[in-house]
Structures are given as C-alpha cells and as structure tokens.
C-alpha cells in the first residue's frame, strides 16, 4: 500500500478534479430541463386544444397565441430570473456542444479589399471605373494583391492616386501606405463591427475568431435564419454621435418607472421618503421597495447608471411594458455600453445610457482616427479628424454643448461617452479617459469603422438545423454506448478479473476525457464523439498488450507478483512508442484541420493521455492492492 500511496492520491485527485469540472455541465443540464418543464409550450398546446380559437384573421390569431404563450411562460421566466446568476455561471462552465450537435450557423467572412478600394474612393468618374474594372479582372485571373495591381494601373496611366484617395497634396507613396494600412486593419474593423452586432443580436455563446490575415469565423449556436444573419454580418456599419439626456431629467423618469413597478400610485409622496430610509434597508427590502433601482444601479458619485449582464433581459421586458412606456419621453433612447464597464464579484456590469433619439452627426464625416499616447499627460488618447463639412457641424455641436456628454454609438452600442471640454473648430478632436492602450485602439477602430468601409464576403456558410443536431447526438450516444457495452463484455469474458479491472479503468477514462474537455472549455462535436469512441479501442489495446505479456510470463512459471511486474514493464515500450505516434498525428490534425476535425483531434489526444493513465497506472494499482491483500492468483483468462 505504501509504495502506491502517491499513485492512489493521484488517482483520487484526478477523479475529484474531473467531477469538479463536470459538475457545472450536470447543473446546467438540470436547469435546462427545469426551464423546459416550466415553459408554457406544452401548457399552451393543451389549452388551445380545450379552448379552440374562434374565427379570426391570421394576424389577430397570432397575436392572441403570442400573448397566451407569454402568459404561460411566466413560470419559466420567473424561475430563470430567480436563478439567473447560477444558470449563467453553469452555462459558462459546461462542456459546450459543437454546432453540429446543437444546431446553428458557422460563417467564414473575408474582407473584400477590391470592394473596399472601390468604396473608399471619392470623386469617382469614368476613368476610375475603367481602372477598377481592369484591376478586378487582373486580380481575379492572377490572384495578385489588389493594392499592388491598383498602384501599377495608376502608374501605367500616369494618374496620381491622390485624385481619388487621401488628400490632394499627398504623393503616391503616402497614399499607398495609407491604403495598405487601411487594408491591413480592415479585418479588425470588420470584426469589431460584427462582434458588436452579434452581441446585441442576443445569441448565447457566440464565437468570433480571426483566421489568417483577411478572414474571421463567426459561430452562432442555435441560429438558423440565414437571411437575417447575412444582413447582420454584411450590412453597413452606422456610427453616430448622440447627446446624453440631462441627468436630472433621466433620474426623474427612472423614479417614475420605479414607482410604477413598486405599485405606488402617488409619485410625489413616494419621492419624499426614499432618501431618508434607503441607506439602512436590506438588499431584499430595497429590491421590493425600488424594483427599478435594484436593476439599474445609479452611482451616487458620478450619476452613471449600470446594469448587470444577467439583468439585461429583465430590464428590456420592463421598458417594453405599456405602463412604463407611458412615462418615457418620446425622444428618449436607451443604450448599453458595448463592453462591460465594471466587473464586481464575477458579475459584469454594463453602463446604461439615455440619449437623444436624434443623432447629432453620423460617422461618415470622420476621415481618420488614431490611438496614441499623449506626450504631456502620458495617457492613451484617440485623435479624430473630420472632413470640412463635418468639422463645421462639429464646431457648432461642440460649441452648443460644452460640459455635456456625447455618446459615440456604433450600431446602437455606446463605445464611449466623453464630455465636451470646449468648442472644436477644425474637426480635429482628442478623446481622453481611456483606461489603457487597448481601449484606445478599440475606440479608434470603431471611429474608423463608421467612415471607412470594411466590406466582407461570406466565403463559407454552414447551417445545421436543430433537428439534425438532435439526431446526431442520439446517433453519437447510441453508437458510443453500443461500442462501449461490446468492449466491456468482451474484455470481461476474455480476460476475466483482468478484463473487469480494465473495464473499470475504461469507465474512469471516459470521466477523465469529459473532465479535461470541460476544464479547457472545449467544444464537443460529432467527430469528437467518434474520436472518443475510437479511444475506447486504443485504451483497451494497452491492457491487451499488458495482459498478453502477463499470460506469457505466467506460463514460464513465475510468481503472480513477478509476472505482473514483468508484464507491465515489457509491454511498456510498445505502448509508449505506438501512443507517441498517435499523439503526433493528433497534433498534426489539430494544426491543419478546421472546426469538426479539430474537435476530433482534440478528443483523440486527450483520450490517448487519459487512457494511458487509466490503462497503465490505475489497473496496476488495483493488481498491486490485490496481491498485497494476499491474492496468489488473479484470473487473466
């Protein structure tokens, strides 16, 4: 027992760790089940059967059914609201299912540099269109870099690039470097635009990843409306500058909403008692007295409002209520910050802005934006320049709104809301207050996104319907269970005690693989399940090699202990060499494969390591314990 103490500790620790990482997956599955149980769909069907809908027009019928559905869904919604934090937490930590298993869209987007060059040009005329046509046909034929071809075409014709791009005084080299800079950063702009929209579209767990220099992959689980997604990804970005509503007005409206939610009719009477007693109320009491302010937290120092990520859905529902709509002025628009501003105790908070519906200015007037370090204050700043028309408007707007805040809004998400310090006469503005250089870079990208196009083409689009995903999961589970049962049965019959031990190790092996996948937030795909099933065969192979050796050693008349010793040590080189090679191939597949193939490679690699551990270490410890307990024979069949 003593010599194995370390191994036993290791095994127990591995099991504990695997269970720890798998718990959120289990938790999330049971929450989902509960939510489906509580949801109104089944109740709705029952109700409609017992209460047939009267003759009415289709649209009216739909509204009627929608409202019924909403009423029946109340239980589910309430349960979700009550447990929102732990539901979201579990979802974040569970093993994710790949798009092939849960359904959804996988889209690869590529920045179209040709189109970008076309869109960026100003004063386009006949000559320009001819050049562009020539460039397009050359690029399509030879696959050359569009920018280089463009430069060559201009040189050939002896036309200066500055006729269409940049400032008229710039020489060709300067324009070229500007264009190539824009081409290089186009993919970042496109990604920021898409990320922003996808975040607002409300997909759970979207993924946006850069691939190479000009492409990025967008994965949207559970989404299947292709037309809508295409619009979402390819539409032109809209950048706007919107004035924030005055704080005093906003607070009054918030107060009115709070009163409605709390059920207080007399707003004036309610107002007087809040300030006095708020500070010594418990959280639960506060939430009851001030339902709105427990969601929209207004900072007493800055007056800024924040909303927890988990409360966003609830807030949307509140703002859509007709009695609440009644007290909201018609020029109010509610917007969130694009990214969470504060993270407190694992909960993300978004800034909540109330702006003028009408934009003061749109981003098309911006000519450039650059993130730099301000030499005097040594802090990151963003320099923004505008064209002459924009500069005139900007001077008027800033002049009229000194000390007020203007939100920079890209596709309805606020990226920054700086305070206007003074009138900006020439369109050249400096934005300060960024926490670090990364923030400044994102803001610069966003400002440019409003003005400079980053047109994208969809080069790959995969859409898996939800029913196919369910089929795939069922197929994967059926074949996995069938394969596992056959192997377990065979090993038990053929190698008796040894086989049962190997079977036990195999089951732990599955636990380990799933645990590792959960720990690395890996995604389980159908090929991944195939990889896992294949691992069963590999795991068994290690035990077969060992047991065949032990059998051989036993025929030479060795003691049980010596035979086991020799069996394990002699089989080791073969097991080691063959598994190293499998690991290599797994790594190569991971490197060159995409999506589903990577999923397969990952489970294969994890499976090899886990199966070596369970086949060599765990079974050995079990046999050692048996021998120490006085067993003189162990049946290896």
């Amino acid at each position: 027992m003593r010599k194995n103490r370390f191994k036993i500790t290791l095994i127990i620790a591995a099991i504990a760790l695997a269970l720890y990482y798998l718990y959120p997956t289990y938790q999330s599955a049971s929450y989902d089940k509960k939510l489906v149980e509580l949801s109104g769909q089944t109740k709705l069907v029952d109700y409609l059967q017992s209460h047939p809908v009267q003759q009415m027009s289709d649209s009216l019928k739909q509204t009627y059914i929608d409202s019924l559905s909403q009423a029946f869904d109340a239980d589910s919604v309430n349960y979700y609201d009550a447990n929102v934090k732990s539901i979201q937490d579990a979802r974040l930590k569970r093993i994710k299912l790949g798009l092939d298993l849960q359904g959804g869209m996988h889209i690869v987007l590529q920045v179209n540099i040709l189109k970008m060059l076309q869109d960026m040009a100003k004063n386009k005329d006949q000559t320009f269109n001819q050049i562009m046509q020539q460039v397009t046909s050359i690029v399509n034929k030879t696959g050359a870099d569009p920018l280089t071809v463009l430069g060559q075409q201009f040189d050939q014709r002896g036309i200066r690039l500055s006729r269409y791009y940049g400032d008229i005084r710039d020489d060709n080299a300067k324009v070229m470097s500007y264009l190539s800079d824009q081409a290089k950063t186009a993919v970042d702009r496109a990604m920021e635009i898409v990320r922003n929209r996808v975040d607002q579209y409300g997909v759970s767990e979207p993924s946006i990843q850069k691939q190479g220099s000009a492409r990025f992959i967008v994965e949207l689980p559970g989404v299947s409306n292709e037309t809508e997604v295409r619009e979402l990804l390819q539409g032109t970005a809209l950048l706007e500058f919107k004035l924030l509503q005055p704080e005093a007005v906003v607070v009054k409206v918030f107060q009115a909403i709070d009163d409605i939610l709390a059920g207080k009719k007399d707003t004036l009477a309610a107002k007087s008692d809040t300030a006095a007693s708020d500070s010594n109320m418990t959280a639960a009491q506060f939430a009851k007295e001030h339902p709105f302010f427990s969601i929209v937290r207004v900072s007493s120092q800055t007056g800024d409002a924040y909303v927890a990520e988990s409360d966003k859905d609830k807030l949307e529902r509140i703002l859509e209520r007709s009695d609440v709509q009644h007290v909201i002025p018609s020029d109010f628009q509610f917007l969130y910050s694009a990214k969470p501003q504060i993270v407190d105790q694992g909960q993300k908070f978004y800034a909540f802005y109330v702006v003028n519906k009408q934009a003061e200015l749109t981003g098309s007037v911006i000519t450039n934006a650059q993130a730099t370090i301000d030499p005097t204050s040594n802090t990151p700043v963003v320099q923004m320049t505008m064209n002459s028309q924009g500069a005139r408007d900007w001077a008027r707007i800033t002049g009229a709104n000194i000390h007020k805040r203007i939100a920079i809004v890209l596709d309805n998400a606020v990226y920054s809301a700086p305070v206007v310090q003074n009138k900006i006469p020439n369109g050249s503005s400096q934005i300060t207050g960024m926490g670090n250089m990364d923030e400044a870079n994102v803001l610069a990208i966003v400002l440019r996104a409003g003005a400079l196009p980053a047109p994208v083409d969809i080069v790959e689009e995969r859409n898996v319907g939800p029913s196919l995903g369910e089929d795939s999961i069922r197929n994967g589970i059926t074949s996995g269970a069938a394969a596992l049962a056959l192997i377990i049965l065979f090993m038990g019959i053929y190698y008796r005690t040894g086989g049962v031990t190997a079977d036990f190790a195999l089951l732990l092996n599955i636990l380990f693989i799933l645990g590792v996948l959960a720990a690395f937030h890996a995604t389980l795909t159908l090929p991944g399940i195939a990889g896992m099933i294949l691992t069963f065969a590999v795991a068994v192979d290690a035990n077969v090699l060992i047991y065949e050796r032990i059998r051989e050693e036993m025929t030479t008349g060795k003691t049980l202990r010596a035979a086991i010793d020799q069996g394990y040590s002699k089989a080791f080189t073969a097991i080691f060499d063959s598994n190293i090679i499998s690991l290599f191939t797994g790594a190569i597949l991971y490197q060159f494969g995409t999506g589903p193939v990577q999923g397969f490679a990952l489970t294969l690699m994890v499976g090899i390591v886990a199966s070596l551990f369970s086949a060599i270490v765990i079974t050995r410890v079990i046999f050692d314990i048996m021998v120490e307990r006085g067993a003189t024979t162990i049946n290896f069949g």
Partner: protein, 328 residues
C-alpha cells in the same frame, strides 16, 4: 479463455504471394480512381449543399423538375439517411449568395402540401475548397514525415521505410475502396470530405501502432536470439504478438462497425474508411512492413536467409522457462 493458442505460422515465407495480392488490390483501386475519379465532398470542391426533410416524402424526379424552373435542374439530388430526406447539391460555379433560400422557396411553392424542413445547409466558396484540399494534403504529408523520423529514431532506418511503405499501402487500398464503394453503393454516400481526411490520418496512426508493436517484439527477440536467422525471429515475433493483434484489431473493428451502423450519415464515411484501414493496417504490418525489412536484407544487403530443409521457418521455443531465463 484463449482464442489463439501458441501458433507457429510461417508468415514471412508467403510474403511474395501477398505482394501480388496487395499490388493487384492497389491497381484495381487506382484504375477505378482513374476511370471514375474520386468522390469529393463540397468541403473540397465548393458549392451549395442542402439537406431537406419532406413530409410526406417526395420523389427525386419531382424535386428535379421543380428545380429546373429556377435553373438548377442539373443539381445533384440523392436520398440522404431516411427515405424522405434529400440532399441537393449545386456546383460552386452555379451558386449565388442565396441559392439555398431560392431552392427552398421554389420547393415550398411547388409542393404546398408538403412540410419541408431544413436539416443542414452548407455553402463553401471555391477558394476555401482549394485551401482545405491543400491543408489536407499537407496534414497527411507531415503525418507521414513525423512517423518516418520517429521510427528511424526508435528503430533502424530500414524499419522506418518499411513502416511508411506499409502506410502508403494502407492509404492507397483504402482510397481505392472509397472510390469503388462510392461508385457501386452510392446510397452509402461515401465521399472525401474533411472527416474522411481525419479518418485517413487516424488509420495511418492505427496502422503504425500495429506495426510498432510487432517491431518492438522483433527488436526484443533479436537481442535475445543473437545470430539467429532473421526470418525465423520475425516469424516468432509475429506469432508472439498474433493474439494481441487479432484482439485489438477485433475490438477496433467492432467499434467501427457499430459506428458505421448506428453513427448516422455524418460519421459514416469516417467509419467506413477506418474499417477498411483497420483490416489493411493489421495485414500490412506483417506483409508489407516486416516483409520489406526481410527483402531489404535479402536483395540489397545480400544476406543469405535461406533455411536448411531440417529447420522450421518459425523459431520454436520448446521450454518456456529457458526463454524466461534468457530474458531475465
């Protein structure tokens, strides 16, 4: 329980016969590929592919004549999985951004009484297909290279050559089988896509695994029986590991058969290729990898490995405890 008691089969002696068998199989495969071509999935050629479920089922002919109206009459249409599921494929050169929506709305208007459900929809641009094909070739190339380097490092270079030739053999035979089955049994929907490439690399790893186990035993036995005839040692080693070889291949075969039958359409190509690969991988460890090492010694190094009539081609070990003594 023992399925295979201690055997004494002269594997290596029959190697020339099996070279002919392997060669013919590869040739048949290559001829099929030359005539029929390989069945590439849209991953590699690009195009639009959608799988639809019709309730009640529609005939392929009905669907085709409907698609003819919108200019996709020459699309590939075949049943996929269940009888009421059809796969419709439009070539990359004929696809537009919303080909799949056009097809669905066309079918919906032609068959108003049929419920049409979209199961899957893939659209791959031709440039992506090209890149994926290049990546697949690179992956297999690097896989083989890594194996060559590792095996020559762990064994001798000629063993590595034998192992890699065995892998080529397995890949070619499996490729041939994929071409033949894709042609003769079209409803199996076996075609070369990304998962198939994964299957090829996995079968390469599997075949290698099997070869290494035999080589490992040869390495060990050569140390024990120094100066013994190579053919006798090889036969002994193959016989020693035969039981393990059959059991492991057997379990892998069963697992893949289960996957082929119950795994559904998506993993079918994978399971099929692996199934063929497990058989040829097991066989090639003996008749390609080991045999080439023998023939290298016979023909290149001119080692006389002929055995006298009185000697068995398989090294016999009469008294097990003598072996034990030698091994210790």
């Amino acid at each position: 329980m023992r399925i295979f008691p201690r055997t004494n089969v002269d594997f290596i002696g029959k190697r020339h016969l099996w070279y002919v068998v392997s060669g013919s199989l590869i040739l048949i495969g290559l001829i099929t590929i030359a005539i029929r071509g390989l069945n590439y999935g849209i991953d590699f050629v690009g195009g639009t592919e959608l799988t639809l479920q019709f309730t009640p089922a529609l005939h392929i002919g009905e669907v085709r004549s409907s698609l003819n109206k919108i200019g996709h009459g020459d699309a590939e249409i075949k049943t996929f999985g269940a009888a009421n599921q059809l796969l419709i494929r439009v070539k990359a050169s004929e696809q537009t951004a919303n080909t799949s929506e056009q097809i669905i709305s066309d079918l919906k208007s032609s068959f108003p009484n049929t419920k049409i459900q979209l199961l899957e929809d893939n659209k791959i641009g031709p440039e992506i297909g090209q890149e994926l094909r290049r990546d697949a070739v690179m992956a297999i190339f690097y896989g083989l290279l890594a194996i060559l380097v590792y095996v020559s490092f762990r064994f001798q270079f000629i063993y590595a050559v034998g192992a890699v030739l065995a892998l080529f053999h397995d890949v070619l035979i499996t490729l041939g089988a994929v071409a033949i089955f894709g042609w003769i049994v079209p409803w199996l929907n076996i075609e070369i896509d990304q998962t198939m490439v994964a299957a090829f690399l996995t079968l390469v790893a599997y075949s290698m695994n099997d070869t290494v186990v035999i080589f490992d035993r040869i390495r060990e036995n050569l140390k024990i029986y120094k100066g013994e005839n190579l053919i006798r040692v090889m036969n002994r080693s193959i016989n020693d590991t035969l039981s393990r070889t059959i059991i492991t291949s057997g379990t892998a075969f069963i697992v893949l058969l289960v996957l082929l039958i119950f795994g559904g359409e998506v993993t079918r190509g994978f399971a099929f290729a692996m199934l063929v690969g497990v058989v040829t991988g097991t066989y090639s460890s003996i008749y390609v990898a080991s045999s080439i090492v023998v023939d290298y010694n016979v023909y290149i190094k001119k080692v006389d490995l002929r055995l006298p009539q009185t000697q068995s081609p398989v090294l016999e070990v009469e008294k097990p405890y003598e072996v034990a003594a030698k091994r210790a």
